[in-house]
Amino acid sequence: MSMHRSHILICSGSNCSHRQSRAVRSRLRQAITETGLEREFKVIETGCFGLCQQGPIMVIYPEGVHYCRVQADDIDEIVQTHLQKGRVVTRLLFKSGTEQSVELPKTAFYQKQKRVVLRNVGLIDPENIEESLARDGYQGLAKVLDTLSPEAVIAEVTNSGLQGRGGAGFPAGRKWEFTRKAPGDQKYVVCNADEGEPGTSKDRLILEGDPHTIIEGMAIAGYAVGATKGFIYIRGEYQLSLQRFRQAVAQAKEYGLLGQDILGSGFHFDIEVRSGAGAYVCGEETALLNSLEGKRGEPRYKPPFPANFGLWGKPTLINNVETLANIGPILIHGADWYRSIGSPECPGTKVFTLSGNIANRGLIEVPMGITLREIVEDIGGGIPNGRHFKMAQTGGTSGGCLAVQHLDLPVDIPHLAEVGSSLGSGALLVVDDSHCMVDLARVFLKFFAHESCGQCTPCREGTTLLKRLVDKIASGSGTAADIKAMRRLSTTMQMTSLCGLGQTVPTPVLTMLAYFNDEFMEHLDGGACATGVCRAAVKGVV
């Protein structure tokens, strides 16, 4: 094997693909060949570094120098100055406010993060299984197959306190136990990679940056619950994820880490990759099962739960991508280690997608229980353009809208539930004071009205009615009775909708009415929108 003196990592996630990062990569390879440096430098395409706003990002090892916003035109300078002469091109270093840094991991953006799920993302070549193996990939699986009984695996996951990261936050170990105990010879493991929650892209990042950690998580789950077959349902829009995952599955099979008699243990496990076709509701677990069966992705009534009656009526374990990415580390390092991270009620880390009016937009992984302020101000770098913080919505469009008074709230499942919000999928939308909450409510409700599958009446009619009510309020002709109607409708939907979609539509609505009530009131009875946003928007649409 040839040894290269230096490795150059460049991100190739889809966030960067769109920013001419393809051109950057090919120019780099070309320049290295032209200058005869191929023997010294190895170019590796990795997943996303998380700081997408600064992308494409390039890291040069062993020095560990990070370059940001690299364009094809910068390559010649990097090659001549850094690669040939060992001098840093300061112009391309990371800058945020007054901070400038040679190594991204030393910036405030990274310092408060804790990388468990994203441990390999941006460090390895996701298309090369050996790089995953070098970073302890499949070590959890090997340990499990070598030394643990299925019951012991479930006990470890239960003791770790890991809760589902797909939205509902159900304790993972308990779900595994239900599935193990459900009667039936044929069982399935399904990985939910439909990621449709607006403002979320963490699953894609993991799929693109470290697909083997998901394969490992699914195989361990299969061993624990007694399944030999797994499906992963990847959102149809995520072409790169689909391609990388298929390739990863093929490599795992080639290396004998999937298939028959894995590592000589007698355990068989296979994974089939399926593509979604553009329906938000298919992220809901029972809708996803219908879709996997080739049907319309309409949710089923629960109970029975998938643990008992899942894919083709067989006991099925469904977990989110991020949930499964925690499994390998938990089994390598143990439940106690996992519990030492995060808050006592809610152990571990959470990946957040920061979007909106925030300086450092991108993906971060933090210990549960970190405050909202630390995320927004320290990691996120605060609100840009001299504006002020107004609202943060956790959990995506179906999550709650929090205000200034919540900035010191610890961010974890129980604390967010206390204020009527949810952790959801880990989207975090930050909004500054130039935006109007009524206008945002219109955007949320338009989304739900479009994505409601129409199967149950409360959700189908409720979303449309709510949308009409906020449109009316935005136009200035709303009255106090309309606000009351929104509250009543929300409560009805919470109680009577068939699935989580209809049940969570009220979360943003009710938190907005609770924490931004004055702003809604201002719009009533011909009142004006203080930010001027509604006036313009309503004119444009009607």
């Binding site: 769109h18 920013r19 997408c52 449709g196 607006p198 593509s275 919505q393 955007v443």
Partner: protein
Amino acid sequence: MREWVRQTVEQFGRDRHQLLEILGHLQRGRSYLEKETLLAVAEELDLPAAEVYGTATFYSLYSTVPRGKHIIRVCENAPCHIDGAAAVLAAVQAYLGLQVNETTEDGRFTLETTSCLGICSAAPALMIDDDVHGNLTPESAVGILKNLA
């Protein structure tokens, strides 16, 4: 056409649960699923035509009506919205002379809106066929369209 459907069905397996993969494959490289295609799939899989049709229309990535050569999907969810998605959409509409869900007369472009494309950190965003573009301004969005073949 019949033969092509049969081959596709054979490639994926004559199973109801392969229906989405089959439909996805059949639509690849063309703008929509013709009625005849759907009927042929129903026959091959031995399913009622209404089942196949009902499934195809449930998902937004499939179309049962003709669309343009390029499908442009502008994201209109909250993260993109607060970063100026409305202005991007308006610019694209003006450039193409289209409302949402319409196709240009020459059959080159169909304009749709979409929910989150998962690149909110580079909002506002749009997707053209399989390619995602982010950090748009109204001008850069139109610039991208101008460069399309």
